[in-house]
Symmetry: C2
Subunit: 383 residues, 2 copies
């Protein structure tokens, strides 16, 4: 029996899913932007043209045509890539599980940002990992801190979300990415670069992935279709150097044989049958607008002593309250006023963090964002 | 880094997938029996009626309506069950992974039939399990042998496929199932009952599941839609007592958040929109016919010294050759004559077994079965 930590976020989501609650919790994309009609056409096409293949067992690596599409797409993100390095997974969450299984034994160290993605903490804790935070600032994690941490803790890998990090919304600068890749190569450090939000940039300029600078084959690059098509399809991937790929593949086989043949083919038909740039710019436009609305509302509602990040993409901002703020207590109050968020504490694998809130802005309309922030502001002022 | 054993079966499948090869390898259902049109109608219905929900994140437990359907279905199999005990997984393979994660630490013992399902060996080996075989005969595993094995090895659980076992096709008798449940209860032994083929009975009489006799909450019951709808959807489930369920659920969250919302809803729409008994009796009829053809062809082609099982359902029979038969060598020859099977060796977690072959009869037409067995017979007579 391994260490298990029940997911507060999931329990909150159950309450927050009630339609009368304005939810800044969860990490849900806006469902009104899902390409439902195009997915329906894609499903129909797949079952009309290749029904038997779409319903049969398939290769553990993934549907070959989708692996090629993903490889091409990564090239366009600045990554040298080949389809043979692409493993299709059940969302990028499964990448965390497979990488944890491959590298971690009880007590092994993982380096992470602090705070970091809650479900990554869960995936690594399932293997009884220890977490060591890497110092960060508003440019992301600080690569110069790594050599000492590597020497002291001999980590099995570093986990990082360089674009619009979950939960902070912070983006790692290009210079730091390059420095990180160099330090990883020099010290033989495996880097798991998790990039679920990279395509959701609504302002600023794109920064090449860490893997762009990876000459030594130290970087595993993970991403997903959850934010660019739809999360219900559970489609993600990891690109890994050949030797690591072959071991991840065996673990994928043992985990669930392969990812849904049907969903993979539907996604491929959707991706090749529709102009992705139109679809993506709709999402980016809406999320940028919603961030702007939330930012403006926070300016209006929150007292001095509260500050928040200004992400250039993604789905979350990170609000820091005065030291005495108790996020969990605030949530209890907020639920009574029918507004929800995720208290920051659970995003810290190592220590504290009770005076932080994570606010999601992708899943509410501008009007509801204004109203929700108004209620939150009133509670903070009263508290 | 854990013990990894590459899957011979998957490598063979890649060769065997070439259309000119008559393949008795793999465990593929007959794709010509997939309900492609009904699945297309179901997908269209789901995306027309509930497109946003079908494409959004969903609960880790699974789609509630599908969990209810599954619970009802298990009742009809003779299992006392509630929807709250049903966890929907990515095929029943994922059940093996989750159960392994929950119970196994390196060196822990799992009791299994010998031979047993290849991918179960892989899933448990990923956690560095040790395998201890339970004695079996043509009625399945022998429960009376368990108390001594439990005392000696303190196993974390027993893994068994009581219906039309993979690879042997053997079915455990009802009396033994009842005895097994009693012994498990008396000794606190967890039993993982894997029942992927239970609905594929084409002759003989149905036997209630082991879980039917489970008063103590020792039995986890796993099954799948891979054989009754289609494997490409990757939908399976486990029914587990509340305390174990809650821990499996946390591991499911950490593994991949949840199973495809889309596939779950499509399956539910298919299950409720079509008469399952008609669909199932088509599959049973075809598989029964194909088993009969293979059995008759083997009688005609194989020399004395070869014998094989006569399963009453499922997709496999198990052929035992003379002691000097080398299944792997025979496969090399067979591939040259464009016929494939899986050598028995890999199904034995502990020792030997080179003079066995597993033959799949579900995935080839009667004519190709006759021709494939003719070629195999010629090779065996020549060898």
């Amino acid at each position: 029996m391994r260490q298990l930590r029940p997911s507060t976020i999931r329990e909150i989501l159950k309450v927050a899913a009630q339609p009368e609650i304005i939810s800044f919790a969860g990490g849900l994309p806006a469902p009104e932007l899902f390409p439902v009609d195009a997915v329906r056409a894609a499903a129909d096409h797949v079952l009309t043209q290749n029904g038997r293949e779409a319903l049969q067992y398939g290769p553990s690596e993934g549907f070959p045509a989708l692996r090629e599409w993903i490889s091409d797409e990564m090239q366009s993100r600045g990554i040298k890539s080949s389809p043979s390095e692409v493993l299709v997974t059940n969302g990028s969450q499964q990448v965390l599980d497979l990488v944890a299984k491959l590298f971690l034994n009880p007590g092994d160290v993982v380096l992470t940002e602090n705070p970091t993605y809650l479900a990554a903490i869960q995936a690594f804790q399932a293997l009884e990992a220890r977490f060591v935070p890497v110092p960060t600032d508003d440019q992301g994690l600080i690569p110069e801190a790594l050599p000492e941490l590597i020497k002291k803790h001999r980590p099995k890998f570093l986990y990082t979300i360089p674009n619009f990090q979950n939960p902070t919304g912070v983006t790692m600068s290009g210079a730091r990415r390059q420095a990180l890749a160099q330090i990883a190569a020099a010290h033989g450090l495996i880097v798991l670069e998790d990039d679920p939000y990279g395509k959701l940039r609504y302002s600023g300029t794109e920064v090449p992935p860490i893997k762009h600078w990876d000459e030594a084959g130290c970087v595993l690059y993970a991403s997903t279709f959850s934010k660019t098509i739809a999360p219900g399809l559970r489609l993600g991937w990891v690109a890994a150097p050949a030797e690591i790929f072959s071991r991840l593949l065996i673990l994928k086989q043992a985990s669930d044989l392969h990812t849904s043949s049907f969903d993979q083919r539907v996604a491929f038909a959707f991706l090749t049958g529709n102009d992705q740039s139109i679809h993506l710019s709709r999402i980016r436009g809406a999320y940028g607008e919603r961030f702007g609305v939330m930012d403006a509302a926070l300016k209006q509602e929150m007292l001095a002593g509260y500050r928040w990040t200004k992400p250039e993409g993604g789905m979350f901002l990170w609000l820091t309250g005065p030291a005495e703020l108790d996020g969990l207590k605030l949530l209890e109050q907020a639920i009574k006023h029918q507004v929800a968020f995720v208290p920051g504490r659970d995003f810290f694998p190592a220590e504290g963090g009770s005076n932080y809130l994570r606010l999601n802005f992708s899943n509410s309309t501008p009007d509801r964002i204004r109203e929700g922030v108004r209620r939150l502001g009133a509670l903070c002022r009263a508290g």
